[in-house]
Amino acid sequence: MTRIQLQDLRKEFDDVTAVDGIDLTIEDGEFLVIVGPSGCGKSTTLRLLAGLEHATDGRIRMNDRDVTGIEPKNRNIAMVFQNYALYPHMTGRRNISFGMKSAGEFTDREIEKRVDQASETLDIADLLDRKPQAMSGGERQRVALGRAIVRDPDAFLMDEPLSNLDAKLRIQMRAELTKLHSELGTTTVYVTHDQTEAMTLGERVVVMEDGRIMQVDTPQVLYDFPEHRFVAEFIGDPAMNMIDVSLETGSAVHDAFRLPLPTGGAYSEEWTEANRAAVLGIRPEDLYLAKERPNLGQTTFTATVDVTEPLGDSLLLHCSVGESKFKMEAEPRATIEPADEIEVMYDPARLHLFDPETGECRYHSEQSTASLERIENTPEP
């Protein structure tokens, strides 16, 4: 188990800066997820950690040992790749034991013992004598995991290990990964571009864009208190609605509605200047049909439904209000059709305001003190 520190880490390729000065401490035993859009530098960060790339600048420490220039094999880490990277010509057992055999630090008996142990943990005993092409995607992924855990490394590095699997399998493997982590407790860094995976797996989640870290927090805090418009839109599906508004004292004003903003700590004086432009963020599930929650009796506004998408457990409405578009969820069996006019209500505790230029978050309608408190209260990783 290991504590990993990245200090001002950067990696430049010929013409791109893939990782642009990252500072991050990964705690001992933590399951940390790095998420972000394609090309944001997730894989590069992980590969820097693994030693597969050389940092242009900055340091990497594992347990206070500087490993920046150390070879991969001497870092005692294990990596799981998206394409599993199983040796196609070896059986499951050989795939798992090959690395150990090569390292030469283990006796044959020990290897056998560990392979058996790992295969029990992962329930892959019956795959050991098959070659990868005779395994399904999920089975291959499991063997790849087996290969990683068998060496009892200080840390697991995983680069989108589930994205080649189909949806069902992905969910199942997700649960197994969580279970595995709770059993082994090994420090794990997990890269994905899928925010659902990030949310469900990560004890903490790093959101990256353009080689930089935008926010590091527990999943729910990321969801509830995004510090940046980018994070707000990236986390959550369907994404948070962003509506251009102008601010007046205590209200966000739009052509079609005027929302009072609950007063609270988190927004500065200047933001109350009249007519200042801002971006109002509300998540689709924080909008309701007024008729579905008649008892809340709050400010409402009227919108037009453009498209309806039945998701089974809810009905996703694509709506327009004035020039703006937004999405919201309705009861799954609501009988709403395109072109219907609907009365929309919102949860006043779940409003966010973003700076239209920098994208930084200026305001959460829930008191930031409360939110900070919540952050501190989140269970230790």
Partner: protein
């Protein structure tokens, strides 16, 4: 489809970069040293040959002799002008080009039939073609000779080109390549009702450029280096190919003439076209021949 490959390559390059950097895997210095040694071993002979070709009467017997002589211009001039070597090279070139073009057409057709047609016994036909690998030239020499004469092709370009047109290796390599073209593309063509001719010219050939060029180089080298058969079937000195011309340069050895240097000058000359092609088309030559599963 292609993007990830390029990306992978970049990535590969970066992995290598670090493998050879200060802390790479194993000893990068060692790797370079080994390459140098091995490549040197492979290259050394050409170096010697080149030196020999610049000496007055040739032969280099020790490392200390490995300094270029002063007869380079003289030797090459003699080969080209006095011995008409340019003429033989041209003959070889014509022969090689005809063989390459002909073989390419014939092999592409065969591979296309084997891969894209639903016909019975085509595997048998494929085997029939592959089997020719095992019929060595000397085995067929005399009967072939008689056959060519019966056909009245003696001493003609036909005689040194047509018998080469069937090529098991080319058909095999092309077949492998055709099999690696995604089926969905092929099926799209079928859905569009693309006919065989259009399929061949608009889809298959453009998608096989690399392999076709690579195969062509290999064919060219093969054709260019033909020696025994042209020697036997071509009687007229003026129509002879460069490889046979080399022995003219050698002189009447038994009669006391011996010019290693001239032979090497000629050899270097004959080496130019295939080597130039190999260098010019190194990309397709080095990147396209990954034989995948049948």
């Amino acid at each position: 489809m292609i993007e990830p490959i390029q990306y992978t390559k970049q990535r590969l390059a970066s992995v290598k970069e670090q493998s050879t950097a200060e802390t790479g895997f194993g000893s990068p210095v060692g790797v370079h040293l080994q390459i140098w040694l091995l490549v040197f071993l492979v290259v050394f002979p050409i170096f010697v040959a080149l030196i020999v070709s610049t000496k007055p009467q040739g032969i280099v017997t020790s490392l200390s002799d490995l300094v270029p002589g002063t007869y380079a211009v003289e030797n090459y001039r003699e080969a080209i002008v006095d011995y008409n070597f340019a003429r033989y090279m041209w003959n070889s070139f014509v022969m090689a080009v005809i063989i390459v073009v002909g073989k390419l057409i014939v092999s592409v057709c065969a591979a296309m039939a084997i891969v894209y047609y639903r016909v019975p016994y085509k595997n048998l036909v494929f085997l029939f073609i592959l089997f020719t690998l095992m019929l060595p030239v000397p085995v067929r020499f005399i009967p072939l000779f008689q056959l060519i004469n019966d056909l009245g092709w003696g001493n003609t370009l036909l005689a040194i080109t047509v018998p080469y047109l069937a090529s098991a290796t080319s058909v095999f390599i092309l077949r492998q390549h055709f099999l690696s073209i995604p089926t969905s593309i092929v099926e799209t063509a079928k859905l569009d009702g693309v006919g065989p001719v259009k399929f061949l010219f608009s889809v298959l050939i453009p998608m096989s450029k690399g392999v076709l060029v690579g195969v062509s180089i290999i064919m060219f080298v093969y054709a260019w280096n033909q020696y025994l058969w042209p020697l036997v079937i071509i009687d007229s000195q003026a129509n002879q190919v460069a490889q046979v011309g080399l022995s003219l340069l050698e002189g009447d050895v038994q009669g006391g003439q011996l010019s290693w240097s001239l032979v090497m000058a000629g050899s270097m000359l004959t080496l130019i076209p295939p080597l130039a092609l190999m260098i010019l088309f190194r990309k397709p030559l080095l990147e396209t021949f990954s034989i995948q599963q049948k």
